[in-house]
């Protein structure tokens, strides 16, 4: 069984705010999570077409001063999203 790229749960709502932060929330449960601007960028690329390295690559193109360990942080971030049921993977069997 091989996992493919991460995909944002389409039932989860991303609500962007004026300062580029955003709230993710599950309309069914009311559970809500805050995202900083980098988290928002990553969330928007969780489309099943990008793996973590590709997302961080896009981030480096768009932002200055991306730290060297950004990929590790991004992996942790996506893993925490997965734990909360906000992200899943298509599975090839």
């Amino acid at each position: 069984m091989k996992q493919k790229n991460p995909i944002a749960n389409p039932l989860i709502v991303l609500r962007e705010e004026f300062d580029d932060w955003a709230i993710l929330f599950d309309p069914d449960t009311g559970n809500a999570f805050g995202l900083n601007p980098t988290g928002v960028f990553i969330w928007k690329h969780l489309d099943g077409k990008h793996d973590t390295d590709a997302i961080v690559g896009r981030l480096r193109e768009e932002a200055d001063d991306v730290p060297a360990d950004a990929a590790e942080h991004a992996r942790q971030f996506i893993a925490s999203l997965e734990q909360q049921g906000l992200v899943g993977y298509e599975v090839q069997t």
Partner: protein, 396 residues
Amino acid sequence: MSAEKTIRAIGGEGGSGAVEKSAPSLNMLYFYLTEGCNLRCRHCWIEPPHQTAKRRHPAIDPDLFRHILKQARPLGLSSVKLTGGEPLMHPRIGEILGVLREEKLRFNVETNGVLCTQALARDLVGSGLYHVSVSLDGADAETHEWVRGVKGCFDAAVNGIRNLIAAGIRPQVIMSLMRRNVDQIEAVVRLAESIGTSSVKFNIVQPTARGVKMHEAGETLSIREIVRLGEWVENDLSAGTKLRLHYSHPAAFRPLGRMYGSEGSGCGICGIYGILGVLAGGAYALCGIGETVPELVFGRAERDSLLDVWKDNPILREIREGLSRRLGGICGECLMKGVCLGSCIAQNYYRSRSLWAPHWFCEEAHREGLFPEARLQGARRRVCRESQGPVPAALR
């Protein structure tokens, strides 16, 4: 670009319908050390009687204080707040501080500063004081003393602040906002800068106890004014000072970056799950609200076991099991309810006699169209941007 990429749960523990089965850790005790106060603040939410040389009111006995701390340690106690009344007016404050030194407990103090002499400031700092807030409701004596009701208290408070700084701790200034002093916000910040304080916190006058009378007399600010001031303080005034500024409106009105960003001041979550109040007369209560709402008193320290009160009191259990899931009205709809917890359950109860009533401020703001729609669940069809794509197999 910020390197920070962690997701921060707004839902939080107990904030998403989770039911807490056992008592949480009792992290902090709020000691309302004295029943009386040396000032007569017109907005006070506790409404303590005025104490003079001739007329004295109860203060907690240092032996009882020690007895409570000894019981609280095994329950998880890690710090203490000394408040009042006026904590520095306690006739045996030196003994109280001695107990804290013996127990090696960190503590913070909320004071009007008036009685904070050089010697007391040194004693406080030497006993484990880690944070102190001093009230200044105006940048001049006339305004401050109009609010506080006693001549001479402005200079005394400023001296108290200076004494604390000289003893090695930079206090936070707290200013309660009302019609009379709203024009002095910036002047108070400049005064706080010039004295050398660490931060300024702006409180909204709550419609509790004496605050009710101010609201009824039109001496408080309108919701519209409070909301606009909050935006100004957080976006403009903050940019022009090195002091940290905290504006105490509910979490729904605060930008996420101001709460969780690298320069943020925290989410302002109420620590209700881990806090218990102890009133001057020795009663356990939700907080100081127990002085005016008898049903929020949970027992007596000289008679009842703290463990039993903390673990078994039915109101505390109901709060643990119900927050934030059972919050009603606008608070029930709010995406921030997991951190805000209804802003102040004591205040909400005072007004409605329901633990689950919405917060007055948010209710009024919503009624006037000032509540941030993006922070409401029901707004999803109007303002949200839905993410696109197929449903992942794992989530179907």
